[in-house]
């Protein structure tokens, strides 16, 4: 488990001090994946560098399993670094060492003896699916393979936390998938707590349990992805859910119009048809669509209802666990 408490960091810029982090609080439960997202300049990289203990924050704490690592120095700091495996931004492999040699680096630093080291390296290469590339040099590997080796290296010394800084930023969609799969396996098979800093919401969509949205050095949204998508006003919902096209003509043809967010298998499959039949209303899908967040299907539909009991039907849908937000409609709504 890792917690970040009230982290602040400022730099001296060309026009005075720049506050990169203004009191950032984060909390990642053991064995979960947190995605830190935000626009460029929000402070993502600074946060990642602070958590990697490459940059010392001005104030605040970074606790791994309770111990604050910020104030450490010397040998204690070096020992603390082994608790956080880091996949740095960009190409970070040693080009003069083989894939296996790169993965072995943290083990050498930790003083692990030769035979054990080789066993561990083999395990990790297997975890990232690159056993056959053990003797290849980084320049002989593709970008995605290099990044998977970087993940294996970060995991080598069995850290409790894995930090990945923009792990997929230079990759095409297909190789991005292979790197994310490896991060997900690390969590699932090793129980590592994962913190991914990314500008790509696709990363959140595919592997993150929790999300933190960073804006101007502050966390403006932090919680479970599946909770936040059900909150229509959240940034997470806005960027992860299928878009709904505005269609005033279709809206005005119905008695009630609402946006419905459904989470989970049962809800997506059965809720809307059942509401229609139960209350004897006509229920039409006007827009939106279905998506998948990690393993969970999630839908946002704009529905139009016709019938006397339309309001009751919407209430029933809401009571059944869906997030329902009515949109203004009728002559006034269209005029506005």
């Amino acid at each position: 488990m890792i917690t970040v408490e009230n982290l602040t960091k400022s730099f001296v810029g060309a026009s005075g001090p720049v506050n990169a982090l203004n009191g950032v609080d984060l909390n990642v439960q053991a064995g979960t994946v947190l995605g830190v997202v935000g626009p460029s300049g929000a402070g993502k990289s600074t946060l990642a560098r602070c958590v990697a203990l490459l940059e010392r924050p001005d104030s605040g704490a970074i606790r791994v399993d309770g111990t604050d690592l910020v104030s450490l120095g010397g040998t204690a700091l070096r020992a603390a670094r082994r608790q956080i495996g880091v996949v740095p931004q960009g190409d970070s492999l040693l080009r003069q060492r083989t894939a296996a040699g790169n993965v072995a680096l943290p083990l050498e630093a930790a003083g692990v003896a030769g035979p054990q080291r080789r066993t561990r390296v083999a395990e990790l290469l297997d975890l990232v699916g690159l056993t056959d590339k053990a003797d290849s040099y980084p320049d002989q590997l593709s970008g995605g393979q290099r990044q998977r080796i970087a993940v294996a290296r970060a995991l080598a010394a069995s850290p409790s936390v894995l930090l990945a800084d923009e792990p997929t930023s230079a990759l095409d969609p297909e190789t991005t998938g292979s790197v994310l799969t490896v991060l997900d396996r690390a969590r699932a098979e090793l129980g590592v707590t994962v913190l991914v800093v990314t500008h790509d919401m696709g990363v959140v969509r595919r592997i993150c349990d929790d999300i933190a949205v960073l804006e101007q050095g502050r966390v403006v949204e932090h919680g479970k992805v599946l909770d936040l998508v059900a909150d229509a006003g959240s940034r997470t919902a806005a960027s992860l859910l299928p878009a709904v096209d505005q269609n005033p003509a279709a809206d005005s043809a119905h008695d009630r119009v609402a946006d419905v967010v459904l989470v989970g298998f049962a809800a997506v499959g059965a809720l809307l048809p059942e509401a229609a039949s139960r209350f004897g209303v006509e229920l039409n899908l006007l827009g939106g669509g279905l998506t998948r967040l990690a393993e969970t299907p999630v839908a946002r539909f704009r529905v139009g209802l016709r019938g006397d009991r339309a309001d009751s039907a919407l209430e029933w849908i809401s009571d059944a666990g869906a997030a329902v937000q009515r949109t203004p409609k009728g002559p006034q709504g269209v005029a506005a």
């Binding site: 740095p88 960009g90 190409d91 003069q96 050498e108 002989q140």
Partner: protein
């Protein structure tokens, strides 16, 4: 003469170059004042004309080697002259190591000594070998100068038998031999550097 002084200059120059890079701004252990001081001493050594060094070091040479004249004695001024040269070359080479690779090693909790060995020196091995080759050829040139002051060797031959006795044939044959030696040294070091290079290069 050239071989031994190249070896000595390498063995002494690499640690100085590593120290220069570690203490530099943006290095692993930035120490502005020690860095400036060391840099000043190194540059002073490089600015010193070799001929002056040769004369100044005579007494030290006698203490170390026992004699102050001859090929063996020339090793001392040659090595001393080349150490600052090697140090600057090494610092330049190390400063080119990709920062992300160094930071990645830092995050593994590796000690500075290990990062120097595995990352800084390991990653720049081909460039280091080339730098030593450059040093060896520079020392070949210097050794001719040492020949003037009784250092012996090919330079000595060229000056005494060629230039001073007006024997152009000896003079130019010696120069030709030196040129061949320089070419061979360059070739060997190029080969060695390429042999340990694991990076991909454009082959046009």
């Amino acid at each position: 003469m050239v071989g031994v002084s190249t070896l000595v200059a390498t063995v002494l120059g690499i640690p100085v170059g590593v120290l220069l890079q570690l203490t530099a701004p943006g290095g692993l252990r930035p120490r502005p004042w020690p860095h400036k001081l060391l840099g000043f001493v190194v540059d002073l050594g490089r600015a010193m004309p070799f001929l002056i060094l040769l004369v100044v070091l005579t007494s030290i040479t006698r203490t170390v080697i026992g004699v102050s004249i001859g090929p063996t004695a020339a090793i001392v001024p040659l090595s001393v002259g080349a150490v600052p040269f090697v140090a600057r070359l090494v610092q330049n080479v190390l400063s080119e190591v990709h920062v992300a690779a160094v930071e990645a090693a830092v995050t593994t909790g590796a000690s500075t000594l290990r990062i120097v060995r595995s990352v800084l020196l390991g990653e720049s091995l081909p460039a280091l070998i080339n730098a030593i080759g450059v040093t060896a050829i520079a020392l070949l040139g210097y050794s001719a100068m040492a020949g003037v002051l009784g250092g012996g060797g090919l330079g000595d031959l060229a000056v005494r038998l060629g230039y001073q006795r007006f024997d152009d044939r000896v003079l130019w044959s010696t120069v030709a031999v030196l040129a061949v030696v320089a070419t061979v040294i360059q070739f060997v070091f190029n080969r060695a550097a390429r042999g340990v290079d694991r990076r991909r290069h454009a082959s046009v």
